[in-house]
């Protein structure tokens, strides 16, 4: 498999395929996500309602869709989503807990986001992707994980993978990449060294 596009958001910087794409003067999640959203000129009011985890995954995916032409080659059920992070949706968990323990009125809109895979639902809704999707919790970013999972996913229905690492703590640490199958052979390898390379490329 080959990686045909990647987006890296680290602290306040955004890189696309290793090149500087956007930089915010503010590395606070809220500010960064709003600035980036405006920069992309995307019109999607649902964005404002998302939790931070979804916002970050959404923005990185929007950038991939805008900059990676290969993505349009695939049918709506051929792209599998494989995402992971280390703290699940703890930020939303806290907000929801606060809504019913302190404000005494549990917020349905916040409860919705107390599952990490809602991020994948948001991506599927936005792009009308019907392929399979999986969210995993890992202790830390692992290129090896994505590479080994790709080997398990691709011989099935999926022909391409959108992989993502979306961590918000201690700093914004987002890495989303699109990998496609480049042959008909069943045993294809997504090289973990290549994943590692793009992940570490934050200069």
């Amino acid at each position: 498999m080959k990686i045909s596009g990647c987006c890296r958001i680290h602290q306040n910087k955004v890189l696309v395929n290793g090149k500087k794409y956007f930089a915010s003067d503010n590395s606070q999640h809220d500010e960064l996500s709003m600035q980036l959203y405006r920069f992309l000129k995307t019109e999607y009011p649902k964005f404002y309602k998302m939790d931070l985890l979804s916002k970050m995954g959404f923005l990185a995916t929007e950038i991939i869709c805008q900059t990676t032409s290969a993505i349009s080659k695939f049918a709506d059920d051929e792209i599998a989503l494989l995402f992971a992070n280390s703290h699940s949706c703890s930020e939303s968990d806290e907000r929801f807990n606060h809504s019913f323990k302190v404000e005494k009125s549990p917020s349905p809109a916040q409860f919705v986001y107390t599952l990490p895979n809602i991020l994948l639902g948001e991506l599927a809704i936005r792009n009308k992707w019907y392929g399979e999707n999986l969210f995993t919790l890992l202790p830390a970013f692992s290129a090896e994980y994505f590479s080994s999972q790709a080997g398990i996913f691709v011989p099935q229905k999926a022909k391409a993978l959108l992989c993502g690492w979306v961590n918000l703590f201690p700093v914004t640490d987002v890495f989303v990449f699109f990998a496609e199958s480049n042959s008909e052979t069943a045993q294809e390898i997504l090289d973990s060294k290549e994943i590692e390379h793009w992940y570490n490329n934050i200069k």
């Binding site: 009011p45 404002y48 309602k49 009125s105 917020s107 349905p108 809109a109 919705v112």
Partner: protein
């Protein structure tokens, strides 16, 4: 009534995170739900129930009832006037 409508619009924008909207963008009679209106969905409807309780102490227990109450700013304002405690 007009004050109430204006206030409602502000509440709506904060409670539903309609960050790209101002009160002037929300017409009194326009449908709040569906693609032709403000594009609100079922979760927003639940948030509106929370809003009614929080700001006007009105408890709506049947989400089905919400459909007519939350049709537009006008219908919401009428309902609040009628049921305010």
């Amino acid at each position: 009534m007009d004050n109430l409508k204006e206030e409602l619009k502000k509440h709506l924008i904060t409670q539903l995170n309609l960050e790209d909207k101002t009160p002037a963008d929300i017409m009194d009679e326009a449908p709040l739900f569906g693609d032709n209106g403000l594009g609100l969905d079922s979760i927003d409807a639940l948030e509106l129930i929370v809003l009614l309780d929080k700001h006007y102490h009105i408890k709506l227990t049947n989400p089905e009832e919400g459909k007519s109450v939350f049709y537009s700013i006008n219908t919401m304002a009428e309902y609040i006037e009628k049921n305010k405690k």
